[in-house]
């Protein structure tokens, strides 16, 4: 078989389109080469990921654009199962020789771990798919000129500084992942998706006292294009941020105590992520992350038994929400998005773990549920979250309704400092803005707050939810897990929610 030495594309950075860049015929040929070599080497199963990731990152601070970098990286990763042992090898060169060499190294690695593979890896047989999936998008962020992005960042900064901020930094990240997946069961799946993350931080300083306050951007990262960035109202939000950073300097300190806490989706997404998303990952429950990311307070015998939260709490997984960061047609094991549509918590009861290939049988289940991701073609796919979101109240409930019976509460907006224990129980989360809620009405701005809790106690204190009209999707590019650390994009949606008797701390120096 005569194959080109490299994919017949120019460097991705010279393009600007949302369709596939890698040549399909070549991908199929490379897959045949690799999977045939794996089979001939004795592998009972093999899969291959070939891909290209394009990234753009721009960062500006105050009056200068400090960095504008565009990156395009290609690569492959081949995973073989040999005598019940995984072996993996990834590299950047996409040619027949490199693929063959990669298979040899993967087989060598599988043989190397055999002396410590006391329990053979067992896999379920996933159905084969031959298909493609392209994320819908209006304007490819890689098509927007660099100068336009620089101008936007400097406009954001100017807006914040014109409205009270002494300093401001702003950044824009964009990524496009194109992936081709092939396995020895016959799957051939070609996908591409794009995401963007605008961000800024406005800082106000009181030179005399030495105190300073910051207010971060509330616009979330999204699976979207440049049109989303332009429509996010960043310049206007930066003006508010400048004013609010300045106002925080003179705001009343939070008085430490137990409060009814109303949490905005711009903050609650991270709480969902840390307390529910990570605690229900089966690889953590099995101990596979015990040495780093941690285990979980949730155990296999708690399926359908654990009251995770109140009746209002229904948390669902999906890979289909438009604009969400983990939305895709197939996961990195080749499982379709439909597999990842399930309830994790339903009306407060724990219902499902998140699982990747080879995990379900370890807790007596027949199949996994589409929760695998590798942050590069050159890294081993592991169990990662799909989108995980809190369902809104099916009954009509506005924000005013939600806070109407709160006598002494605090409303938290935006994610701040965060920390949670390795079993996902004890957490402490900050925020960007804290407001008093007095007798059913929003009150004054407060400063220096953080809330602390225990996961199931917190979720069982969920006492109110807004309806779908207040639903908001937030998320991050950079959820870290595994050794070596992999970074995954993921979204979490929710409406504003009310929690009773939550411990609120004062974090200020002068409290």
């Amino acid at each position: 078989m005569a194959l080109a030495a490299t994919p017949s594309t120019t460097e991705a950075s010279c393009r600007g389109r949302s369709a596939f860049a890698l040549d399909r015929a070549l991908l199929y040929d490379l897959a045949d080469v690799a999977l045939t070599a794996a089979r001939q080497g004795g592998a009972s199963y093999a899969d291959l990921r070939i891909g290209e990731t394009r990234r753009q990152y721009a960062f500006a601070k105050d009056d200068r654009l400090e960095n504008f970098d565009e990156r395009a990286s290609q690569g492959f990763g081949v995973r073989v199962l040999l005598d019940g042992c995984w072996g993996f090898y990834g590299a950047r060169r996409l040619d027949v020789h490199s693929l063959r060499d990669g298979v040899e190294r993967a087989l060598e690695n599988a043989r190397a771990v055999r002396p410590i593979q006391f329990q053979p890896i067992e896999l379920e047989r996933l159905p084969a798919h031959e298909t493609e999936w392209i994320m819908p998008m209006v304007v490819d962020p890689f098509d927007a000129p660099a100068g336009e992005k620089a101008d936007l960042l400097l406009s954001i900064i100017a807006s914040a500084r014109d409205h009270g901020a002494d300093f401001c930094s702003a950044s824009l990240s964009a990524a496009c992942e194109e992936r081709f997946f092939a396995n020895s069961l016959g799957s051939r799946i070609h996908q591409t998706r794009t995401r963007v993350a605008p961000s800024f931080q406005a800082t106000a300083v009181d030179r005399a006292s030495g105190r300073f306050a910051t207010r971060d951007c509330l616009a979330p990262a999204r699976g979207a294009g440049w049109d989303y960035v332009l429509g996010a109202g960043l310049v206007e939000e930066a003006a508010r941020a400048g004013e609010e950073a300045r106002a925080k300097l003179d705001a009343k300190p939070v008085t430490q105590g137990d409060y009814d806490v109303v949490i905005d989706p711009t903050n609650l997404w991270l709480t969902i992520h840390e307390t529910v998303g990570h605690s229900t990952e089966l690889d953590r429950v099995l101990g596979w992350e015990a040495n780093f990311a941690g285990t979980s307070f949730v155990k296999p015998n708690m399926l359908n038994e654990l009251r995770f939260g109140s009746e209002l709490m229904t948390i669902v997984a999906d890979r289909a929400q438009p604009g969400a960061l983990a939305t895709i047609g197939f996961d990195d094991d080749g499982a379709p998005a439909e597999a990842a549509e399930f309830a994790i918590v339903e009306k407060g009861m724990f219902k499902n773990f998140q699982m990747a290939l080879g995990q379900a049988h370890l807790i007596g289940l027949s199949h996994s549920n589409g929760c695998a991701y590798a942050d590069s073609p050159t890294t081993f796919p592991i169990q990662r979250m799909p989108n995980i979101s809190l369902k809104p109240n099916p009954q009509k409930c506005s924000f005013d309704d939600l806070i109407s019976d709160v006598e002494n509460g605090i409303y938290v907006i935006g994610a701040g400092s965060w920390s949670i224990d390795q079993q996902r129980d004890n957490f402490q989360f900050g925020g960007q803005l804290f407001y008093e809620v007095k007798n059913g009405k929003l009150g004054d701005l407060l400063r220096d707050g953080a809330y602390q809790g225990r996961t199931t106690q917190f979720w069982n204190s969920l006492a109110g939810l807004c309806d779908a009209s207040a639903y908001h999707l937030d998320g991050t590019f950079t959820c870290g897990k595994a050794e070596p650390v992999q970074l995954a994009p993921v979204s979490h949606g929710s409406p504003p929610a009310l929690f009773r008797n939550v411990r609120v701390l004062n974090t200020s120096d002068d409290a």
Partner: protein
């Protein structure tokens, strides 16, 4: 993809030859990483991954545009240069424009060993086997990760700079959990030379720490005397170092900012026992000789006898303020003392021995209020003796207070870092009073 100095030079020369910009800078880094994870006494995942990235930055009329690629064939290199120039022309003029560095004098950092660089995955399986065997011997479940890395890092510029540095790394970390899943212990180490990694010791320490069947005791939140093992001390020191940025201090946005303006350089902010140095020639924890932006890393103290002596500073900020550019340091050496951990424990009436921390994060940057949790080996000390495993706790602690209240230091030791990021800090065990535990955690 590991590249030799000659390979990198040839690639960089091609890039510079393509350049039509006023000036051009090239940064190439990459290598081969291999890792193996194990859980409950058996292998789970492994990988070998060969990576390399080239970044070309084109300087045109006070603007800098950059493009990074992973293919190094002639066509890809030429396209990257063109694209970086195209980007540069679209950007606004940088008011703090800094031209590429010319030739520099670098020291030598002894961080590369051919034998370590050539290890394959079977060596990691052997290291993991030491932990698994020890766990089986004393009846605990073992989990962990072993990693090797062979990396290079290089800079070249049209102003005549060529800098190339390589390193080899190996690390092993292990967690042991008792069979009731109610207690855990941990140990880990990182070395640039594989023959200095003592896998058997890591296995013994982790398993011994994890082999406790007694129900962990609960401690009420409050201020306690703590004995921080070197890995715990490193975690806290890392946050202190990270905050030592000159620009934030100059702008009043930092713990190191002086009320009314200016940075607190030359001020005694900490206990006189606190000295933190960075040195590429340090035999225990050598920093890279080639620092951020291609700047040479020199031997220097950031804190000396409690006095702040240095803050790190980018080239652009140094130019604006007329100061010396000082690269950020991944590695540091915190000077130690001669008090053993056993002697520290003997001196404590009631307190806590902490093995390591988890999920630390700054809550309030002005006071360097840090939060986080203890993890994998928290023990209650009473009347000079370790009396029981103690359930984990969350802390909220101002680092300024902590580093001003050091009661004793042990010998400085290399502490764990995952191989691959070049980190190699060293710190002593610390005896500190008044450490603020704010709440209980059930996390084991």
């Amino acid at each position: 993809m590991f590249l030799s100095s000659d390979d990198v030079k040839a690639i960089a020369d091609q890039v510079l030859a393509h350049s039509r910009a006023d000036a051009c800078a090239v940064h190439i880094h990459g290598g081969l990483d291999q890792s193996l994870r194990f859980a409950r006494g058996g292998a789970t995942t492994n990988l070998a991954s060969a990576e390399a990235i080239l970044r070309v930055s084109s300087h045109i009329c006070g603007r800098i545009g950059s493009c990074s690629i992973s293919r190094f064939d002639g066509e890809a290199l030429a396209a990257a240069v063109v694209r970086s120039e195209e980007i540069a022309r679209m950007l606004p003029v940088d008011p703090d424009y800094v031209a590429p560095l010319g030739p520099q004098n670098y020291g030598f950092s002894n961080r590369y060993d051919e034998a370590t660089a050539n290890l394959r995955l079977d060596a990691l399986a052997n290291a993991a086997a030491r932990v698994i065997e020890e766990g089986a011997r004393i009846g605990v479940d073992t989990f962990g990760c072993a990693t090797t890395a062979r990396r290079f890092n290089a800079f070249a510029t049209s102003a005549g700079l060529f800098a190339y540095e390589r390193r080899s790394e190996i690390d092993l970390s292990a967690t042991a959990r008792n069979r009731a899943d109610s207690w855990s212990g941990w140990a880990g180490a990182h070395q640039f030379f594989a023959d200095r990694l003592d896998a058997e010791r890591i296995a013994r320490v982790a398993c011994a720490k994890g082999a406790h069947d007694a129900t962990p005791v609960d401690l009420e939140p409050g201020a306690y005397t703590v004995v921080l093992e070197p890995d715990a001390a490193t975690e806290l020191t890392f946050w202190l170092i990270r905050a030592m940025e000159a620009r934030a201090a100059d702008e009043g946005r930092s713990f190191f900012a002086r009320p009314g303006g200016g940075a607190l350089i030359g001020e005694k902010l900490f206990d006189e026992k606190l000295t933190i140095r960075v040195d590429p020639a340090d035999p225990l924890a050598p920093e890279a000789a080639v620092g951020f932006e291609g700047l040479p890393q020199r031997a220097r103290a950031f804190v000396e006898n409690g006095v702040v002596t240095t803050l790190y500073r980018s080239r652009a900020w140094a130019q604006r303020t007329g100061s010396e550019a000082i690269p950020f340091a991944r590695n540091f050496v915190m000077s130690g003392g001669d008090v053993s951990i056993d002697d520290m424990v003997r001196s404590v009436r009631r307190g806590v021995l902490v093995t390591r921390f988890w999920y630390t994060n700054v809550v309030e940057p002005k006071s360097l209020l840090l939060t986080g949790l203890t993890r994998d080996g928290n023990f209650l000390i009473e009347n000079g003796r370790i009396v029981a495993p103690m359930r984990n706790m969350r802390f909220n602690q101002r680092l300024g207070d902590l580093f001003s209240n050091i009661k004793a230091l042990g010998p400085t030791r290399r502490t764990w870092r995952a191989a691959g990021d070049g980190g190699a800090p060293a710190a002593p065990a610390m005896l500190v009073e008044g450490f603020n535990f704010s709440s209980k955690s059930s996390g084991i």
